[in-house]
Amino acid sequence: MSTTTVAHHEEHHDQPTGIMRWLTTTNHKDIGTMYLTFSLIMFLVGGCMILGIRAELFKPGLQLMNPEFFNQLIGVHALIMIFAALMPAATGFANWMIPLQIGAPDMALPRLNNWGFWLLPPSAILLTLPFTLALFGIGDGALATGWTFYPPLSVQGGIGVDFAIFAVHLLGISSVMGSINIIVTLFNMRAPGMTLMKMPMFAWGWLITAFLLVATIPVLAGAVTMLLTDRHFGTHFFDAAGGGDPIMFQHLFWFFGHPEVYILLLPVWGFIPQILETFSRKPMYGYKAQVYSFWAIGALSVVVWAHHFFTAGMPVPALLYFMYSTMAISLPLAVLFFCWIKTMWNGAMSFETPMLFAVGWIILFGIGGLTGLVLADVAADAQYHNSYFVVAHFHYTLFAGGIMGIMAGTYYWLPKMTGHMYSEKLGKLHFWLTAISFNLTFIPQFFLGLAGMPRRIPDYALQFAEFNMISTIAAFTLGLSQLLFVYNIVTCARGGKKATDEVWEGAKGLEWTLPSPPPYHSFTEQPIIK
């Protein structure tokens, strides 16, 4: 350990308190906490929206809402869950843990960090405001195009689309600022002696994520800007009459959209191995292999986008190229799976809640990934495309692969962050309820898709009734089980059994060398890695 103090702060004398503390804070833990809280709240909101959808789909016929409102709920559900629940959660962990894991005094650009967070609430407002306005007879509600903004529908749409466009702009700025901050931190703030190839896996996952964000988010911003000018300033980017092409938007959107799915999961792929090694009590297998796989996935992710619109009509060579390149992504992921399982292999495993989630996560994400692989087949995709099969696929990747991964991370780091142990009993219960009801919600949707039920429809033919009923009932169970999660977190933050510094027997990494909760200024002395 070196003995030189590296963080010199001014907060000591005039540390604002109360609301001002949170508004103005430049402290990476405060900001991390804000990100995580925001994420949890938005997860509940987005979930409640989709519960509305599931309720409407409980049986054939229009029960609760008219079709426009239905379409609005879908799109906003997706945007909230992806941009306001999953991404902020990952960023929250990054803020909390990266400085701790690499022995840094704080994030490299604290004020920027604070701005990055405070861009989120405004965008959340922009996303949901149209609903409120509609109540007062202003405009006709939020965007009703699904989260994919496809023109010409989005050119035709009302002011909800404009709100969503600007929401995306703010979210984009926020993500880019966050990425800049993380890249800088990882390049410039690592403890002496911690070479890149000694960084924790989570840091690596986030480094690639940040690169992808910087490369693709601006493209999305550009695309929606063209949409805006098509709507209001008479340009013809997306209409044939002027020589444009609606499909061009799909190219631009998915050039962002596909990397986005790895942006969402790379941080998770980062900390899952850390959880596995902790609870298997043996160092993770194939660190190098995993890092290289991350690079491979990052590189591949930006060259496969067109697999989202095979049915839009493309020349055969293009179809074949996008099919094969998409399939190629399964190779680095196979490597990751191999490493994860080899890490557990011959360890001394114990199954506390984080480990339960991690193991369940591997299985469920496996299903999501493998079904993704068959979606990549152009011919079969003509059937799968925009059917509930796709919906099931991406909930296995997004909810199981994303949210459940985040839950694993939450249970893993919560004691470190709060200094208290959460209730194992409730945690385990939460896992079982989530895992079971999740499968009961989405397995039926695979069969619905195969049977030919299109997505984004408020009402359906009679032969789809049974599966939808099951799915809805399960969805509500799934939703309610999340209240356990909320309760467990809140009580744990309030108090409970004191957590040790190491928390988990055999936990590896710098964050576990600090007291729980860590002091306000993480490393006033930067450790030296040998």
Binding site: A334, G347, A348, S350, D377, A380, N439
Partner: protein, 388 residues
């Protein structure tokens, strides 16, 4: 470990609860075209493959979760990265297998079906054009003796059924007034386009689906092997009516198809003849009512009350009560006729969808019913003239 047992159990539980029901399906519906058959084979094969992979990967994990527990007193070993040539060779083997799976076992059949799917033209014996618009399909026969046949196909499910006020019929939401009729065994080249937003013409049993892009022509093909009625839906989100633009195809043996063509042609003759004769106000209003409830009521509602702000009411609306023709005898900009013919923003253009009689009838109806009483009559001939 319990993870898996529980998930397994719940899955099994679900299967049982389902199989209690009469009609459910676990896979693609029975294919009716070569393409659908091919797709089904590819799909089954791939499902097998990923099934095997999944089970294999899982088995290893289950074993490990069993055997390597702390509670079982298992001592963690420290593994070392493969170092010797032999070890590296053995780690490369699985990788080779995966390559084989991805690009040979899965890749080659995929290649063939793609080529087959995209070859829309050669050996095609007839061409039809499918036009999507909010929210109905329009079919046009482009060649052969059916050339010139052109009609719109609307959902016929009543709004009472949708709002659970009436018993739902067998083909709830999958029934239309005019079916697309195709000869059995012929390779039909399909031109796909749209008048407003993206749509996607999808009949699961045909295995072909193409996005209809406004201003572009996309192509696909179908060759129905067995006579019968086939149903499908639009599967690209296209606004509030997305769930309400189904597809119904009648596949008829050649002979029957020919007779159908003949009769259909006559009907259309009559209709266009109707455009030239003088109509009485009553007849127009009567026909108009039907046209209105089929096409306009989705947004403007049966009563004409509309769904403000998105869909304005017609009852007492400025346009529906204002003048249609100017002093020069030409129809005015933003007049009732202009709106219906050309549309604006969310209001679609009906030029291509409705014929002169229908347009004249529906406008006359809107002006003299739904709480409006302008009293004037719009003749099909005037609409015909206005199209020029």
């Amino acid at each position: 470990m319990q993870v898996l047992r529980k998930i397994g159990l719940s899955f099994a539980a679900m299967l049982i609860s389902i199989s209690a029901y009469a009609d459910y399906s676990w896979n693609f519906p029975e294919p009716a075209t070569p393409m659908a058959l091919d797709t089904l084979h590819v799909h089954n094969k791939f499902m097998m493959i990923i099934g095997v992979i999944f089970v294999a990967v899982l088995a290893v994990m289950i074993y490990s979760i069993f055997a390597h527990r702390k509670s079982k007193g298992n001592k963690p070993v420290t593994d070392k990265a493969p170092s010797t040539a032999v070890e590296i060779f053995w780690t490369l083997i699985p990788f080779a297998i995966l390559l084989l799976i991805d690009f040979v076992i899965m890749g080659i059949p995929a290649y063939h079906s793609v080529v087959m799917m995209e070859d829309t033209r050669d050996k095609a014996t007839m061409v039809i054009k499918i036009t999507g618009s909010q929210w109905r399909w329009q079919y046009e026969y482009m060649d052969g003796d059916a050339k010139g046949i052109k009609f719109v196909s609307n959902l016929t499910t009543t709004s009472d059924q949708m709002h659970n006020l009436a018993e739902k019929g067998e083909h709830y939401l999958l029934e239309v007034d005019n079916h697309l009729v195709l000869p059995v065994g012929e390779k039909v080249r399909v031109l796909m386009t749209s008048t407003d937003v993206l749509h996607n013409w999808w009949v699961p049993q045909f295995g072909s689906s193409r996005v209809a892009v406004p201003g572009f022509i996309r192509e696909t093909w179908v060759q129905v092997e067995r006579p019968g009625v086939y149903r499908g839906q639009c599967k690209e989100l296209c606004g509030k009516g997305h769930g309400y633009m189904p597809i119904v195809v009648d596949a008829l043996p050649m002979a029957e198809y020919k007779t159908w063509v003949a009769t259909k042609k006559e009907e259309l003759e009559k209709a266009s003849a109707g455009a030239d004769k003088e109509w009485t106000k009553e007849d127009l209003i009567a026909t108009g009512k039907g046209v209105y409830e089929k096409n306009c009521a989705v947004c403007h509602q049966v009563t004409g009350a509309g769904l403000p702000p998105a869909f304005p009411p017609l009852t007492g609306s400025k346009i529906a009560n204002g003048p249609i023709f100017g002093a020069d005898g030409k129809y005015l900009k933003d007049s009732h006729l202009d709106r219906v013919l050309n549309g604006i923003r969310v209001m679609p253009s009906w030029k291509a969808v409705l014929n002169d009689t229908e347009i004249a009838a529906v406008i006359t109806y809107e002006r003299n019913a739904l709480g409006n009483s302008v009293g004037d009559v719009l003749q099909p001939s005037q609409v015909k003239a206005a199209r020029q």
